[in-house]
Amino acid sequence: ARSNTALGKALLSLLSRGGLDEEAWEDVEDTLLASDLGVEATTELVESLRSKVKVEGATDEATVRGWLREDLLALVDPSMDRSIASSRVAGRPAVVLVVGVNGTGKTTTVGKLARVLVAQDKDVVLGAADTFRAAAADQLETWGGRVGVPTIRSDRDGADPASVAFDAVKAGAEMEADVVLIDTAGRLHNKVGLMDELGKVKRVIEKQSPIDEVLLVLDATTGQNGLRQAEVFGEAVDVTGIVLTKMDGTAKGGIVVSVQRKLGVPVKLVGLGEGPDDLAPFDAEAFVDALID
């Protein structure tokens, strides 16, 4: 059944011609590009596969597919620590900051993550540090209500996001919560003023408490721009993990392969829908299998 896939077909025709068919190699390349892996990562993977086929002289599709899978898995690195900092540290709550460009699913992820943590019997506090987008705090508060945790917010549109974040961390400490999850406004990474504002949110929180986790939320449909997003957010706030949302659609989210490599931090969670239980730990093998299926 395997060889019914585009990749399977490409590999078969490639092998039947002794690995010398340029067009078939382009087809292999195409199956990777179609997952948003990008030209650079794809070229590397195909080069490596080419030299293996040449040196080791493979004859069957399963072997070659296995090599590709191995290479991809090595890139995604199943050995990375993908746990989320969510327990009290040195007598204070863990602080998690959630960042990303507009509309990727930050607020939803905060809500779902709170749900997961509540199910683990943790006391969670949400901080609505998106004071810009229309009704962002209401949206987060609804999520808080949905999963049964308090939301610290400002009543005022356009309040200083850093001071709301500060208040949330402070409230979390006073309530002796296990973890404070802070939602921030979506911002495009090429907007210097907004990135500076995010840096300020981080610094102001740190006056109160260290930040234990910074999650960058990427939308699985994002193309090559995802790498730029990661670079710039990484510089601004020391990202410690990636959340890949909207994986319930057809998009494969291949860009995170390059993102992980660039930032050296793992994808930790995947979003699988709009409901409170639609969040799962990232599974490297399943992710790779979906890429080459």
Partner: protein, 324 residues
């Protein structure tokens, strides 16, 4: 990695000084560069293939030009083809003969629909229209409140008979997975049109929930809304940062709601926006507007020529060609 197509082509043709008819090998090398540049710009693969094969054909038959070297000749052809696809059918909003004009918005989650409702409302209001926004996303937490705030910022009234998904405790599905509407978005849409007629609004803009291409139920809901309100325009809102998923998504929305025009959002980012080419060439629907920021005024009519040079980052090559 080369920064731009210009750099790539310059590298490819470094040793080529001759002018005249393009040889097949000139073209092959250039086509490969263009393929990679298009893929880097997130143009979807099937569209890249179609596009490069059209370029190859035109380039092989290209006129001998004394003024341009082979690379420049190909770039000129590429630019012309890009502008032709992107701007082939540029047009403005279709207004109804008997008001109200009904505009429905549709797209993936988070693509920028609700924000666009405010922008479009303000833009129409500034032209002397009397738009009404209708809150038919009853699913995303506080989508209705968001539209109300957006309407206030735009100075445009909002019709919101249902509060949608808010308040929390009752909002969890039994399974905890997926989501649902609180109230009937089809009925709200229909009532919105009636309201506009009664209050003499000449344009109605219906905001709908985000939905995935593969979500058959939600796609049917969108189709039902369309059937209930017979819109004059259905605008498909797509994020300029989208990658290879653009084709499937556009096709699903074309089948699901048969949109009449496209709005490209978040163009204030630095994504190359290859999706513009993918969607235009796959669906044949015109790209009508660009959304270029978060506030209600960040909105403009789409410019195909600017988009063409953005996708391929061909700025300096084009300048050279113009000077030749």
């Amino acid at each position: 990695m080369f920064a731009s197509l210009s750099d790539r082509l310059t590298a490819t043709f470094k040793n080529l000084r001759h002018k005249g008819r393009l040889t097949e090998s000139d073209i092959n090398a250039t086509i490969r560069d263009i393929r990679l540049a298009l893929l880097d710009a997130d143009v979807a693969l099937p569209v890249v293939k179609q596009f490069t094969s059209a370029i190859r054909e035109r380039a092989l038959g290209a006129e001998v030009s004394q003024a341009l070297n082979p690379a420049q000749q190909v770039v000129k052809i590429v630019n012309e083809e890009l502008v032709a696809i992107l701007g082939g059918q540029t047009r403005s909003l279709q207004l109804a003969k008997n008001p109200p004009t009904v505009i429905m918005l549709a797209g993936l989650q988070g693509s920028g629909k609700t924000t666009l409702a405010g922008k479009l409302g303000k833009w129409l209001k500034d032209q002397g229209h009397t738009p009404l926004l209708v809150a038919a996303d009853l699913q995303r937490p506080n989508a209705v409140t968001q539209l109300e705030v957006v309407g206030e910022r735009a100075g445009v009234p909002v019709y919101a008979p249902e509060r949608g998904n808010m308040g929390g405790h009752d909002a969890v599905l039994e399974s905890g997975e997926g989501t649902r509407s609180f109230g009937d978005p089809v009925a709200v849409s229909r009532q919105g049109i009636e309201q506009a007629r009664a209050r003499q609004h000449d344009v109605v803009i219906v905001d709908t929930a985000g939905r995935l291409a593969v979500d058959a139920n939600l796609m049917q809901q969108a189709a039902d809304i369309r059937a209930a309100i017979s819109p004059d325009e259905v605008l498909f809102v797509i994020d300029a940062m989208i990658g290879q998923a653009a084709v499937e998504t556009a096709q699903a929305f074309q089948e699901g709601v048969d949109f009449t025009g496209v709005v490209l959002s978040k163009l204030d980012g630095d994504a190359r926006g290859g999706a513009a080419l993918s969607v235009a060439s796959i669906t044949g629907r015109p790209i009508m507007f660009s959304s270029i920021g978060e506030s209600v005024k960040d909105f403009e009519v789409f410019h195909p020529d600017r988009m063409a040079s953005r996708i391929l980052d061909m700025g300096d090559v084009l300048t050279l060609i113009e000077q030749a």
